[in-house]
């Protein structure tokens, strides 16, 4: 029952936002930084606020009926403090400025952590809430420093993900008024494909063993070259470097002949997404084993290569593969 109502409500809202953008304050995505000001901060009483108003009315009637001025004064004080709280809440939101929006690496199905960076503000802004769909987090922005806020959202599909509208809201300080605004940054995040789990071992597992055997056969300098500033540290061959008084790195290019080939078309008997999931798992496995690999997918060959750049290039290509029915 509750689910039906929630669904109906969401659909009504979506319809209303499509047809009445001016009324529902649907904003187009906009570039960062996004600064909240009075033109885009909205205020409505919360359910508690409405009951509070009713309560005040009853208190007012009681005080007036008994002709009791101190009681009336107390009622006025209570109400006025509630009214004053509106401005406190508004000040917590007004001038808030979102400067950056980042996200970490994420595979479909795993939670994606968005990191929102807010510009330093003149005063502490307590008890703000950030919400997207069902994900919600409460945070405080201390005065004078840049602050990062993390919001974890669920992912389902590979490919581009636009977080869309994020609701920043507060009912500070008394919970009588909800003050909210929408952040709709035009930032997209790439969600890598899901990983097949458990995944079978890498294809052509003997390639690595051949290489090791050859290295053991005495070709000491095989696969090594001089260090360049752009080389990742984990490619440095420390033992060899110590012997030669110069930094040497494992040469990926040199090993390209032995590169592992991860071929989309070789995975027959699977449907499209299953192939992508397996390739993703293999890319990660190959990367973890520091092996050179080549990804062959319809329309592109990536690599051969090793390291972070190769991994990201492959995952990106996999993520952006057209969907099966498209």
């Amino acid at each position: 029952m509750a689910a039906t109502i929630a669904d109906l409500r969401a659909r009504t809202l979506a319809y209303a936002e499509r047809r009445l953008p001016a009324l529902t304050r649907l904003r187009k995505a906009e570039p960062l930084p996004i600064r909240l000001d009075r033109r885009r901060i909205y205020v409505l009483p919360t359910g508690f606020g409405v009951s509070f108003a009713l309560l005040l009315f009853v208190m007012l009637l009681g005080a007036l009926n008994y002709g009791n001025n101190p009681a009336l004064l107390l009622t006025c004080l209570f109400g006025a403090a509630g009214g004053a709280s509106l401005f406190g809440g508004f000040r917590a939101m007004n001038g808030l400025s979102l400067t950056q929006l980042n996200a970490g690496e994420c595979h479909a199905g795993a939670p994606l952590t968005l990191r929102l960076r807010f510009a330093p503000t003149a005063r502490t802004r307590p008890s703000l809430r950030l919400r997207r769909d069902d994900a919600e987090t409460a945070f405080v922005l201390p005065a004078g420093v840049e602050s990062d806020v993390a919001l974890t959202i669920a992912t389902t599909h590979r490919g581009w993900l636009r977080p869309g509208r994020l609701r920043v809201s507060t009912d500070y300080p008394l919970g009588l008024f909800r003050i909210w605004s929408w952040l709709n940054p035009d930032t997209d995040f790439l969600v890598y494909p899901a990983i097949e789990s458990p995944a079978p071992a890498l294809p052509g597992g003997q390639g690595r063993e051949n290489e090791l055997a050859r290295a053991g056969a005495g070709e000491e300098h095989a696969g090594l070259r001089d260090y360049r500033a752009t080389d990742p540290p984990r490619l440095i061959a420390w033992k060899a470097s110590a012997r030669h008084d110069t930094l040497l790195v494992h040469d990926a290019e040199h090993r390209s002949d032995d590169a592992l080939v991860l071929d989309y078309s070789a995975l027959t008997g699977f449907e499209h997404e299953a192939r992508i999931r397996r390739l993703t798992a293999w890319v990660l496995a190959a990367d973890a084993a520091q092996r050179s690999y080549l990804l062959h997918i319809p329309g592109a060959i990536i690599g051969p290569g090793v390291g972070t750049a190769q991994r990201h290039a492959c995952l990106r290509a996999l993520a952006l593969l057209p969907h099966a029915h498209a």
Partner: protein
């Protein structure tokens, strides 16, 4: 909203609720407040030990039990007292079931209502202040429900501070509401004051010894402002009730007998005009300085010259009247009056009768008998507030064995003695004395100043006041109740009493300006702003206008820091220099750094090239030479920029063609 309420906010809510219930303590039955305290404390303790929520099978029977107990005690749940008891009980039960922030908010909102209802019982200034403090606690509890607190080191202090700030910010709005919300002409439901239990105060029934509660009650009874000089202390008799009828134990004023005529009073000068502000008594009598001559509005003058209000005094009441201290009251007595003023119940006080008849047999006249009686009191009686109890023959016991008592005993015994001797006499109760407040220029009369005296009727001279207490303890009359009541409680110490009396100016002000602020004064206030004959609509209009103004000011305040961004002083000075140069025809281009601008400006404005070079180099050093430029150097730079005058140029030099 779905999260569980933390322990700290829960405890703050529990404390706020407990304080709210404590505000009702005075009239709560002990079973309720003990149960509430135990329930709240037990819940706090259980929650500290991670107990489960209180189950519904405990909560619902508890609520039913509460309802049953209230009905058993009061017979109803409606009305001020049963309603507040029920409210306190429900509030305590709400704390029991509070598990989520939503519950806590409901509890706090309801606590606000219960807190307000406490003021229906006591309206004193100190109590209102105490209740406002509890309100701060309630607001702080609401703040504590917020998800991410601003300060985690001293959260409680921060919350209390915020609650107080919110209350302070609300003051203008609250004042506007208080002054301008139209008061009701007549109550919407019930009749205020009808459902109350009697307060301590003078009652229309007097038993010797019954006033003790009243005589130790230090709360103000009324305040008197005299138009001219106040009467001397021995003349400060305020009559409230005249008691005619004695049944052997108590004096009453039998309404059924009525009064056949208004007693004629001849006024022998010494008129005094004054205004009395009476604290609520929940009775109808109005005290007036000895012998009121006219009845104030809403009251009538009783046959025996007491003021009787048309309605019970359930709110502080202010009235103005005129009295005299020299008078002849009722020089002729009718037969009925005489019979009533001589009536004594048969079979009581034989020794008193014997004594009076003995005096009469000696051939003494009325005046001598009165003097004899006063002599008797003066010789061998003691004034005390803790007298021994009297038996069935109260006058006999008092006159011949105990001989210790206070005004009631003396008045009662004296009147019995007079009636036994055949002199018409009656008891008058009221107040005597009071404390003259020099700074406030008014006479403060406390409940402790309650007094009882006698009136005897003499041919030609009419009813005359005789105060037998004065014969025993002249200090009681000359110096007031405080001097005569020798019970040495701490609260009786002279300096404390004097402090309290001085502080009463504030209390009096509170009563006059806040408690007594009614529809009439409201109209008067608006009239002083030039609104003739204001009605409720005008008041609402004025309220809306003030509300709008306050909201506007608050909005300006809330938007303030956005409208005026706090810019860097160095940037501002540089922007000013840019504007000066632009006026002189050298506008900075978007792609131009300071040095490029300088190069262009030097060629365009050779007259100021030297000072400009210095300025720009200065700026570059300040802006790019240090992370945080020294403030004094920035100030000096700002000054130089302000003094810099660029020569005015008519036209912009042609822009060099960058394409070429």
């Amino acid at each position: 909203m779905r999260e569980r309420l933390g322990q700290r906010p829960f405890e703050l809510v529990a404390i706020a609720v407990a304080a709210t219930i404590a505000a009702h303590l005075e009239h709560l039955p002990p079973w309720l407040w003990i149960a509430a305290a135990v329930a709240i404390a037990a819940r706090v303790w259980a929650r500290r030990r991670d107990a489960l929520p209180v189950a519904a099978w405990i909560r619902f029977p508890a609520a039913g039990l509460l309802l049953f107990a209230v009905i058993a005690q009061y017979g109803t749940v409606f009305g001020r007292e049963p309603g507040s008891v029920l409210g306190c009980g429900l509030l305590a039960l709400k704390v029991l079931e509070t598990e989520r922030p939503r519950d806590a908010r409901v509890a706090i909102g309801f606590a606000g209502f219960v807190l307000m209802s406490a003021l229906l019982f006591v309206q004193a200034l100190w109590f209102t202040l105490a209740v406002s403090t509890v309100l701060v606690l309630l607001l702080a509890a609401l703040v504590s429900l917020q998800p991410a607190p601003a300060h985690t080191e001293h959260p409680l202090r921060h919350e209390l501070q915020l609650g107080a700030i919110l209350l302070a910010c609300g003051l203008p709005l609250a004042a506007a509401g208080f002054i301008l919300i139209p008061r009701l002409g007549s109550p919407l439901w019930g009749a205020p004051g009808k459902d109350t239990q009697a307060r301590t105060g003078l009652s229309e029934r007097m038993e010797p010894g019954a006033l003790t509660d009243l005589l130790i009650d230090d709360s103000p009874a009324f305040r008197v402002r005299f138009d001219r000089a106040p009467p001397l202390p021995p003349q400060r008799y305020f009559r409230a009730i005249v008691l005619w009828d004695f049944d052997g134990t108590s004096w009453t004023r039998d309404q059924r007998k009525g009064f056949l005529r208004a007693e004629a009073a001849q006024d022998n000068g010494a008129r005094i005009d004054y205004t009395i502000t009476l604290e609520p008594t929940d009775r109808r009598w109005l005290p007036a300085l000895d012998l009121p001559l006219v009845a104030p509005e809403g009251a009538r003058l009783g046959g025996d010259r007491v003021l009787i209000a048309d309605e019970v005094v359930s709110q502080p009441r202010e009235y103005r009247t005129r009295s005299t201290t020299r008078y002849t009251l009722s020089p002729v007595l009718t037969m009925q009056e005489r019979a009533r003023a001589l009536a004594l119940p048969p079979g009581f006080d034989p020794r008193t009768h014997a004594l009076a008849e003995g005096w009469r047999a000696d051939g003494s006249d009325d005046a001598t008998i009165v003097r004899n009686a006063l002599d008797l009191f003066h010789r061998s009686f003691t004034y005390t507030l803790s007298p021994p109890l009297l038996g069935r023959n109260s006058a006999d016991d008092f006159l011949f064995s105990t001989r210790r008592g206070f005004c009631e005993h003396y008045a009662s015994a004296f009147v019995v003695l007079m009636r036994a001797a055949g002199i018409p006499a009656r008891v008058v109760t009221g107040y005597q004395g009071g404390w003259w407040n020099q700074s406030g220029n008014y006479l403060l009369v406390r409940n402790a100043d309650a007094h009882a005296w006698a009136e005897v009727w003499m041919p030609e001279r009419g009813w005359m006041r005789v105060d037998p207490t004065a014969a025993v303890s002249p200090a009681r009359i000359e110096l007031g109740a405080a001097a005569a009541n020798d019970s040495a409680a701490w609260s009786q110490s002279a300096w404390l009493r004097s402090l309290r009396n001085r502080f009463d100016v504030v209390n009096g002000l509170w009563t006059r300006t806040i408690i007594r602020f009614d529809a009439l004064r409201q109209k008067g206030l608006l009239t002083s702003f030039g609104v003739t004959d204001p009605n409720q609509g005008d008041l609402l209009l004025a309220f809306s206008a003030v509300l709008g103004t306050i909201l506007l000011l608050a909005t300006v305040w809330a938007l303030r820091d956005v409208a005026k961004p706090h810019a860097d002083a160095l940037d501002q000075a540089w922007a000013q220099l840019g504007r000066r140069l632009a006026r002189a025809g050298v506008a900075r281009r978007a792609n131009e750094g300071p040095l490029d601008l300088l190069a262009r400006a030097r060629s365009a404005l050779p007259a100021v090239a030297g000072s400009l070079t210095e300025l720009v180099q200065n700026y570059v050093a300040l802006r790019y030479g240090a992370v945080e430029p020294a403030p004094e150097r920035v100030r000096s730079f700002t000054r130089t920029v302000r003094n810099f005058r660029a020569p005015r140029r008519v036209s912009e030099p042609p822009v060099p063609d960058l394409q070429r």
